[in-house]
Point group: C2
Chain length 206, copies 2
DNA sequence: AACATAAGCTAACGACTGTAAAGTGATGCG
DNA sequence: CGCATCACTTTACAGTCGTTAGCTTATGTT
């Protein structure tokens, strides 16, 4: 609508537009919160670009969407990684990872749904998965977790957090008449119980 | 394609078609496993009907989809209810409910996703929620659960199972290099840990 | 200054969508 | 037997979509 006519990119670097298109696609799905909003023309509008211009950088819509998903998985992994890095003790790292994960899901609802709606997401999540599994293993080694299988229990935690991330906030307490159900305590409860962490509340720092 | 020309419904009961349309819509989304397949014309094709005929029974597509969702929520609740009714002890009821819930999600992937993609699902899930919460409360009363808040912990279990139901089967072990991760044991582990059920393995009947 | 080319455009296609309007033909009642 | 009504149908419109073909124009090189 606000047609502030784009300046064409300099000669050598037409690849600049590729990044712009990707960003446009991501902000489009994030702002509309609608999985189906990710159309070729929609992205073009968001980027102030003509639709066919996208074909110079992505052979078709499917490839563009895949690029969005791949980028999103990296963003998620990075977010979890830095959250873990900010903590020292393995149990605290675990909790921080869980918080970062759920935060991502809640802050980018439609995008997160899309990430797990398409098949083949598991391979993209492998990176983050390994990170968390290591952390849990260290908890076991430190004797503060009763788990006997770090990978299996990591999967369980992942599934549970995925559930929390998918059930959006407004639905939580309102209809189900849950009293105080604040998120940090909730996440800590879930993770502690599933990983059998019985250690002292070093996690309680929230 | 196989145009086995429909017989028109008798005079009084034009409402028969309403049910046929609903069934057609459900089988359509279930067989295609695609959320976006639920179009007015697609449903019409599935029901061997002309598209505008649907308007005699549903004022627009949105209302048809809502009817599908409402019906699906009832189906889910009914499935969970009967699964629980087949068990005696409260802990066994709890586990049966979880199994039935996840089964539904896995057997109707696209439909399940649609149920929780649209807003306002929480009010529809209230029925099932209450059922499970009661069951957990009985576990607490019987002294086999360490939980202190049946409703809150039911929500946690729900979220976790929702996560399991949403992560589809093939993705489980394959990419994550988990060994044996059979579903019944997995569900039992999740539910036992989250509800703090420490009782004797009366649940082990699987 | 001339020219090749990169960067992006407009126009157009075929297919699909939800929905409105108007038609058809069997059915059951008076 | 006639006729109104119900249960649908065909036709049509306006809008969206992905994608292709071909054009324009600025840019960097020679």
């Amino acid at each position: 609508m606000t047609d502030t006519a784009r300046k064409r990119n300099p000669r050598g670097s037409g690849d600049l537009l590729r990044e712009e298109i990707l960003v446009a696609a991501i902000t489009l799905i994030d702002t509309t919160d609608d999985t189906n909003a990710l159309t070729l023309r929609g992205v073009a509008r968001q980027a102030s670009i003509s639709a066919p211009s996208i074909y110079s950088h992505f052979d078709n819509l499917t490839l563009l969407v895949e690029a969005v998903l791949q980028s999103s998985f990296h963003e998620l992994a990075e977010s979890v990684r830095t959250a873990m890095a900010a903590e020292q003790q393995p149990a605290a790292k675990l909790l921080a990872a869980g918080r970062a994960y759920v935060d991502f899901g809640w802050q980018h609802k439609a995008r997160y749904r899309l990430m797990f709606a398409e098949t083949g997401y598991a391979e993209n999540a492998v990176e983050t998965f390994a990170l968390v599994a290591e952390s849990l293993q260290r908890c076991i080694d430190a004797g503060i977790s009763g788990s006997t299988d770090a990978r299996a229990d990591t999967w369980i935690v992942w599934a549970a957090l995925h559930g929390v991330a998918t059930l959006d906030k407004p639905a939580r307490a309102d209809y189900l008449r849950l009293g105080a159900l604040d998120r940090p305590a909730l996440l800590e409860t879930i993770i502690r119980r599933l990983t059998l962490i019985h250690g002292p509340p070093a996690l309680a720092k929230l």
